[in-house]
Amino acid sequence: MTAAAIETHDLHMHYGAGRTEVRALDGVDLTVEAGEMVAIMGPSGSGKSTLLHIVGALESPTSGTVAVGGLHYEGLDDKQLTELRRDHIGFVFQFFNLLPSLTAEENVTLPAVIAKLHGRAIRERARTLLARVGLGDRMDHLPAELSGGQQQRVSIARALLLSPELVLADEPTGNLDTKSGHEVLRVLRELNEEEGHTIVMVTHDAAAAATADRVIFLRDGKIAGEVEGGSARRAADYLASLQSPDERELATA
């Protein structure tokens, strides 16, 4: 794919109708280049998670266009979208979403099993990825035997198994303590820098956002600006400027 990794144009997502209509996205134009690591922040209800879900083909927008690697989503049927998710996109969820009955290694190889890919190469890749995220000695453990941070790292390895061009992370550190969160962010950053994966991360945590190349802000379903990555302070200040006085007070309480 030589086109931009992600391109959206005038994206709208509305829920409900009439008096109870909610405009989760209200005309979003977004471009993410290949190899970038981007964080998306915003107050509650800003539409950041919705944007990620649409880019990840988990939901279809009410209107507007989405293209990943130059491939437009409009007109793709369920089967094609399924293949898109399988071959080009890796997900990291807030709640890890590991299968409790499978070991760490089996969880990582799950995308290959679904794609009917077998063989030693797949197993080797899984082991390499697990070692990469620091869990080389935990391959045979069940999720119940791993800490939250460890589980999240397994899910990162799973997301990367089939070498997707795009990795989407929805609040990857939302369920983790500070130390685990730092570990996870370090892994993501390394994967981006050393292997060139495009990573888009939704987060409410300024420190997490700071690990990205740039931070894009949403408010009320629209893009409300962006800052350069690298500084948690910068991200936090910008976020505060977008929040109402009550929201700010709650956030700092």
Binding site: H53, L58, T82, R85, F91, N97, S101, L102, L110
Partner: protein, 856 residues
């Protein structure tokens, strides 16, 4: 290592063993019932085949008088002269009662002994295999059947004391023969005796009951059968032994249908458990399934994984169910034997096992299909949303579908079950089963709309009486209507089956009691012990008894009644089997106040004396006959044309399939000579006790095989007979209840599992273990009350509708609601349902809070 996506299903089953077991349980029950019933019906069939083969192994044709009447003496010689007949032999038969050491009669079927008398030289009509002693030769000696001899401790050389048509006697046992490997007809005995002695003992100097024929050309008996039938005329029936066997099993067709119905109910509840369980599973695993979709699993793969789980559970459940079925079959066989249905030892059939297994797996897959489809439709966004915002209320469309499935069964079910009988073979009955199952499916679909209002209504007092636990319970039930309804419906269906059955039984009994009061204007009935009118009265009451009673000073009237089962003439639809009764037109009106439609009693009896015939209401319907029509009566002794006088205005024996003629007409056409019963009326109420004592003394001394019944006793006997028939229903109804209760336990247990996180939140908020337990029990109380109330109401409505639907077929049947019994059953179910909640409730309370909170 995970080999393929499909093997994920196996992993999932292993991770949730308890849920898997509870789900498979449904299959076990359903398959167990189906297999058990198939084995039972197969065993009954095999028993008959074995008996027929044993007794008539070498016989090609069997000739029997119509309605078990006697064939004329010359029939045997006539048959022997038919070209193609190699040899023929006749038999006379008599029923005897065994006597205890003190000469009192042994009561019940185990005291009965059927003796066949035949020539001992030349061709024998039966192929009894001698196992001990010698064959009968001459004089009053008997060979007895092996199993019976063993069960009652008789050996060669013993003497068995019996009472029969000519009084008491002792019969020496000179041989023991084998009829089948294991037949046990409730203890009924079989014996053989030389013909001359038999004729004397049975008081049957002439005529034949049965004639056995062996053909020259054993390969093709068709033409011979026609020639013999031509010779014996229409007063007798010519059949192959195989056809006799078929005829008997046709009569059991009704039993089969009922058995299949109840196994169908068990299967339905089993399937419902699976549907419920998988629905809950899919709901609970929405996040996981959504995640799999994000990883690239297609809709078909998601659906397939649920179906594979179902298939595995289906196979395991089926195997266990087959084992259960074997146990059930043994139990049912004992039950049947106790009811006098002849059935040998368990006959295992691979075909039955395959059928039951096939049905079990198909039902499992069908039941899991809907949840699997839901799984396939899970959107990948569920990986994020989990099962939040999933619709928990039922759509109105579901109500419409439910009613559309329910109503036809209510409307037409009655005519299928009671009208069809064995007329179009099993077809009408299987249609009835299908319609009934659809009716239940409709109930299940419409359940949320019926159960929830009841729960809402119950919630008012519950909230007031139990402010904390009760409120939590009520809120929990009302906030999840689909789950609540799914839990209650298993009990609802079971109870509605019970309510329908009890309603119909009590309506039959109630109607018959009402009509019996009219019919039994007599004081006493004298009849052969252990026989009812429907059985033709068995050996009957000798003339000498009638004479003796007529001679007693206290006697007012003695009215003899003769009865025989036969195919009634001119029947246009439905089964022809009915009862021909013969009465004395002068005496009968004194002991029977039954009215007739279209004619007064005095006129009716006058025309009866002139050779007319009165019809039972069912018979009149089926033969499209009314007053003034003519029917042709054909019997072993003659034929005549008779005018229809009118219709008997009561249900009567054989469900209204009755033809009543005068004693003279009966004798002229059917040749029957012994009355089946004597109806006796005392001169006045003051004379009654003395008359009773005198008759009792007479019977005791000289006719121990006869019994005397008061009118009250007679009514009791009829209702006992009905009860015995419906007892079989009741026994299986109990099984249906057990299955439903197990369904309730199952669903309650699963709903606890499903709500683990919810319970964790309650505990985290400060609810004690006791409060959690109490809340679960409160919920169970409300669910079982709601389920029971709806079940009883639905069952009563269905029972009422079915009885009304049957009105044209069985007129006179009135609705009697068995209030106390049904209420008792409902209360018992609620109590049991509450007990059922105890285990899941304890489980819920024992969960560790933190584990519960993160449970998924």
């Amino acid at each position: 290592m995970l080999r393929s996506f499909n093997s994920l299903a196996f992993r999932q089953l292993r991770t949730r063993p308890l849920r898997s077991v509870l789900t498979a349980f449904g299959v076990v029950l359903g398959v167990g019932m189906v297999f058990g019933v198939l084995l039972l019906t197969g065993t009954i069939r095999a028993t008959f085949d074995e008996v027929i083969d044993s007794a008539w192994g070498e016989t090609d044709l069997v000739v029997m008088g119509e309605g078990n009447g006697t064939m004329a003496e010359g029939t045997l010689d006539g048959i022997k002269d038919v070209p193609g007949v190699r040899d023929a032999a006749g038999m006379v038969g008599g029923m005897f009662t065994r006597l205890n050491k003190d000469d009192s009669p042994v009561k019940g079927p185990k005291g009965q002994m059927l003796i066949a008398g035949y020539e001992t030289e030349g061709y024998q009509p039966y192929d009894f295999r001698l196992v001990e002693g010698r064959r009968i030769a001459s004089g009053r000696e008997v060979m007895v059947e092996q199993n019976w001899a063993r069960d009652h401790g008789y050996h060669v050389g013993d003497r068995v004391r019996v009472a029969g048509p000519t009084g008491r006697t002792e019969l020496p046992i000179i041989g023991i023969f084998k009829l089948t490997s294991s037949l046990n007809v409730g203890g009924l005995g079989y014996a053989a005796m030389p013909l001359p002695a038999a004729r004397q003992l049975f008081d049957q100097p002439k005529g034949w009951m049965q004639i056995s024929i062996v053909a020259d050309d054993r390969g093709d008996v068709g033409p011979l059968k026609r020639r013999v039938a031509h010779i014996v005329g229409s007063g007798a029936r010519v059949q192959t032994p195989g056809e006799v066997s078929d005829q008997i099993s046709d009569q059991l067709a009704g039993l089969n249908v009922v058995l299949y119905f109840f196994s169908g109910v068990a299967l339905f509840v089993g399937g419902f458990l699976i549907l419920n369980s998988f629905n809950m599973t899919v709901l609970q695993r929405m996040r996981e399934l959504g995640m799999l979709r994000t990883l690239g699993a297609s809709r078909r793969m998601a659906m397939g994984s649920v179906l594979i789980e179902a298939l595995v559970l289906g196979i395991v459940g089926t195997v266990l169910g087959l084992g259960l079925g074997l146990l059930l079959a043994s139990g049912l066989i004992s039950l049947m034997r106790g009811m006098g249905v002849p059935v040998g030892s368990l006959h295992f059939s691979i075909g039955a096992a395959i059928t039951a297994a096939f049905i079990g797996i198909i039902v499992t897959l069908l039941s899991a299909w809907w949840p699997a489809r839901r799984a396939g439709r899970i959107s990948p966004i569920r990986a994020v949303l989990g099962n939040a915002q999933v619709r928990r209320t039922a759509s109105k469309r579901r109500l419409v579908i439910g009613l559309a499935l329910f109503l036809p069964g209510v409307w037409f079910g009655g005519s299928f079950w009671f009208g069809g009988e064995s007329e179009t073979g099993g077809l009408a009955a299987y249609g009835g089963i299908l319609m009934t199952m659809t009716m239940f499916a409709g109930m299940a679909a419409a359940a949320p709309f019926i159960i929830l209002p009841v729960i809402r209504w119950l919630a008012v007092p519950v909230r007031r009486l139990l402010p904390t636990g009760g409120r939590l319970a009520a809120d929990s039930l009302l906030s999840n209507p689909l789950r609540t309804a799914a839990t209650a419906i298993a009990l609802t269906i079971g109870l509605s089956v019970v309510a329908v059955t009890i309603t119909i039984t009590s309506s039959f009994i109630g109607t018959i009691n009402d009509q019996m009061d009219k019919a039994f204007a007599r004081d006493f009935t004298v009849q052969a012990q252990g026989f009812t009118i429907e059985q033709g009265g068995g050996p009957g009451v000798p003339r000498s008894v009638q004479t003796a009673i007529e001679g007693m000073p206290q006697t007012g009237t003695v009215a003899p009644l003769r009865a025989m089962q036969l195919d009634l003439p001119a029947v246009k639809s439905g089964s022809k089997l009915g009862l021909a009764t013969g009465v004395d037109p002068a005496r009968q009106p004194k002991v029977d106040r039954t009215e007739f439609q279209g004619v007064s009693r005095s006129e009716a009896y006058a025309e009866l004396a002139q050779g007319g015939v009165l019809l039972g209401s069912t018979y009149a319907n089926r033969a499209h006959l009314e007053r003034g029509d003519k029917i042709a009566l054909l019997g072993p002794a003659g034929r005549r044309s008779a005018k229809v006088i009118g219709v008997i205005d009561s249900l009567g024996p054989m469900n209204g399939m009755e033809m009543r003629v005068s004693l003279d007409t009966m004798r002229q056409v059917y040749g029957n000579s012994q009355p089946a019963e004597l109806a006796v009326e005392a001169r006045s109420a003051e004379h009654r006790p003395a008359l009773e004592a005198k008759i009792a003394h007479l019977l005791d001394r000289r006719y121990p095989n006869l019994e005397m019944q008061s009118a009250a006793d007679a009514k009791q006997e009829v209702s006992d007979e009905i009860n015995r028939t419906f007892n079989m229903f009741n026994a299986i109804v109990i099984i249906a209840i057990i299955v439903s209760l197990l369904g309730v336990i199952n669903t309650l247990a699963m709903s606890v599992i499903e709500r683990t996180r919810e319970i964790g939140v309650l505990r985290a908020l400060g609810a004690s273990r006791w409060q959690v337990r109490a809340t679960m029990v409160d919920e169970s109380v409300m669910i079982t009350i709601a389920g029971a109330v709806v079940g009883v109401l639905a069952g009563t409505v269905i029972g009422y509708a079915w009885l009304r639907g049957v009105d044209e077929v069985l007129p006179g049947l009135t609705f009697h609601f068995p209030g106390p019994i049904v209420v008792a059953v409902a209360i018992a179910s609620v109590v049991l349902g509450v007990l059922a909640a105890i285990w899941p409730a304890r489980r819920a309370a024992r969960l560790k809070v933190i584990e519960a909170l993160v449970y998924e």
